[in-house]
């Protein structure tokens, strides 16, 4: 069985400067991999390259075995890939319901089952579909990003610093929903995080990105936190 995501020697960047250099990382179906690292080390660039917003200057990106290098973002999303960016991640002027509806593939109209499933974790989704998304609290906006990403049961979830600025109770709930969805549908997750505690609590494996290269990787076991901390403190 091929990997849900295979990042194979990818180099990418902006203009002349390469932010990522020969990055190799793969995520098996049903696996949660956390990408950790300090600010400016290339974590967000990695997700943007996987999604196709940034071209890979070298290397290949494969999604469920299919080489998608060079294809536009909407075609990658169509391969059951959900992406939750860090910045400007919701349509503020649209309603909660419209934000969710945009995640449905063309031709699919019914999202009631998905909303009921996710409302078990985020109850406001069911009752506030007509509210403008920009008027949600910061935590609710993050929950909306997560719900929109999970609505259609993707095979691969790419999520960028979802816990940033959130209170611990919301972070706990986000961790619960990732674990539950993984158990229910075997979703693979590539999680970019600054919050090492949260990341290691949901991940099977971790990778540390430093200056655009994978500096360390390993299982998210009892020693992982100490090893990651050593890299982040440098």
């Amino acid at each position: 069985m091929s990997a849900a995501l295979d990042i194979d020697g990818v180099t990418a960047g902006y203009g002349e400067s390469m932010v990522l250099r020969d990055v190799r990382l793969s995520v098996a179906p049903g696996e949660v991999v956390a990408v950790l690292g300090k600010n400016g080390m290339g974590k967000t660039t990695l997700l943007k390259t996987v999604m196709g917003f940034l071209p890979a200057r070298a290397g290949r990106v494969r999604i469920a075995g299919a080489d998608v290098t060079g294809t536009p973002p909407h075609r990658r999303a169509a391969r059951a890939v959900a992406y939750g960016p860090q910045d400007r991640a919701i349509f503020q002027e649209l309603t909660v319901g419209e934000n969710l509806r945009l995640a449905l593939p063309r031709g699919v109209r019914d999202m009631q089952a998905g909303i009921e499933r996710l409302a078990a974790f985020f109850p406001f989704l069911a009752s506030r579909q007509r509210q403008r998304a920009g008027t949600l609290s910061g935590g609710e906006q993050k929950m909306l990003i997560m719900a929109r990403a999970l609505l259609t049961r993707p095979r691969l979830l790419l999520i960028d610093e979802i816990t940033e600025g959130l209170q611990p109770s919301v972070i706990t709930r986000l961790g619960e929903v990732v674990r539950a969805e993984r158990a229910a549908s075997g979703i693979a997750v590539l999680l970019v995080e600054q919050n090492v505690g949260f990341a290691l609590s949901v991940a099977d494996r971790y990778a540390v990105l430093a200056r655009g290269e994978i500096a360390d990787e390993g299982p998210a076991d009892a020693d992982a936190a100490a090893r990651v901390a050593a890299h982040l403190s440098v």
């Binding site: 917003f53 169509a78 509806r101 945009l102 593939p105």
Partner: protein, 278 residues
């Protein structure tokens, strides 16, 4: 007085139809389409061709709409799409295209002024006054069109995708929306609206190769003060179009013709967001 109010309403309605096409194109593609006046002229000549070929004047506007959509689709595919990553060049290309359209029409039809017969003639009693029957029909058509556009944007999947692309194109793409397709459909629809408006006004105005120029100018200024909101555009059309009618009626038609451009420029000076929120 009733006549003046009806003049304001019909002028605003037709301005709205012309500017709406320019506005949705601007919102989705992030470029001002300076060939919009050219598309409007194509609509006027489509009306001329249809009626001269013996077609009913009622067919003029629908035929112009179809011609505009087909032309817009071809232009988007051949000229605009290759310049997506260079918006300034795309704007210049539409400017050049507008000039080419005028020249081609001049070659085909000559510089002369033409007249298109009206589907209806004379005046009817309305609101206690006698008023041009065609202007009343135009008003109804424009209001129906505005309602249809609003329904398209608010009530359909394509409309939702278009609004998403207007607000944040990259986020929309990440959710699986083919923004290239949304741009294509929007540009074709915008061109169709321009041509439709061009045919709609032919019973009132003569058809000549430069007929689109004043409409382009006015629509451009209206879009500048309205941002990407159709509601703001409706308000701007009513207020600035109303000012144009009042100034033309009680002042002087030359000043009236300039009033939208001048008032919009003044408004933008005082309030850079214009009628748009924020």
């Amino acid at each position: 007085m009733i006549g003046l109010l009806l003049d304001v309403a019909t002028t605003a309605a037709i301005l709205f139809v012309v500017a709406a096409g320019l506005l949705i194109t601007f919102g989705v593609l992030k470029i001002i389409n300076f060939a919009h006046g050219g598309f409007l002229t194509v609509g006027g000549y489509a009306a001329l061709v249809v009626t001269q070929a013996g077609g009913s004047p009622w067919l003029a506007a629908p035929a112009a709409f179809v011609a505009g959509v087909v032309l817009g689709a071809a232009v988007e595919r051949v000229i605009v799409r290759p310049l997506y990553s260079r918006p300034l060049d795309a704007i210049l290309a539409t400017w050049g295209l507008g000039i080419v359209i005028v020249q081609l029409i001049t070659l085909a039809f000559g510089r002369g002024t033409n007249f298109v017969p009206s589907p209806v003639s004379g005046a009817v009693a309305a609101f206690g006054t006698d008023y041009s029957a065609w202007r009343l029909i135009m008003l109804v058509v424009a209001v129906l069109l505005a309602a249809a556009l609003a329904a398209l944007l608010q009530g359909t999947r394509l409309g939702l995708e278009a609004r998403a692309v207007i607000m944040n194109e990259e986020l929309a793409q990440g959710l699986g929306i083919d923004s290239t397709r949304v741009r294509f459909v929007t540009f074709a629809l915008g061109a169709g609206l321009a041509a439709f408006a061009g045919a709609l006004i032919t019973p009132l105005l003569s058809v000549d190769p430069l007929m689109g120029v004043p409409w382009l100018l006015n629509a451009f200024m209206l879009v500048l003060v309205s941002g990407t909101s159709l509601a703001s555009l409706g308000l701007a059309s009513l207020l600035l179009g109303g000012a144009q009618v009042v100034i033309s009626t009680y002042g002087n038609p030359v000043l009236g013709a300039l009033s939208i451009v001048v008032l919009a420029a003044v408004l933008l000076r005082i309030r850079p967001a214009g009628f748009a929120r924020g």
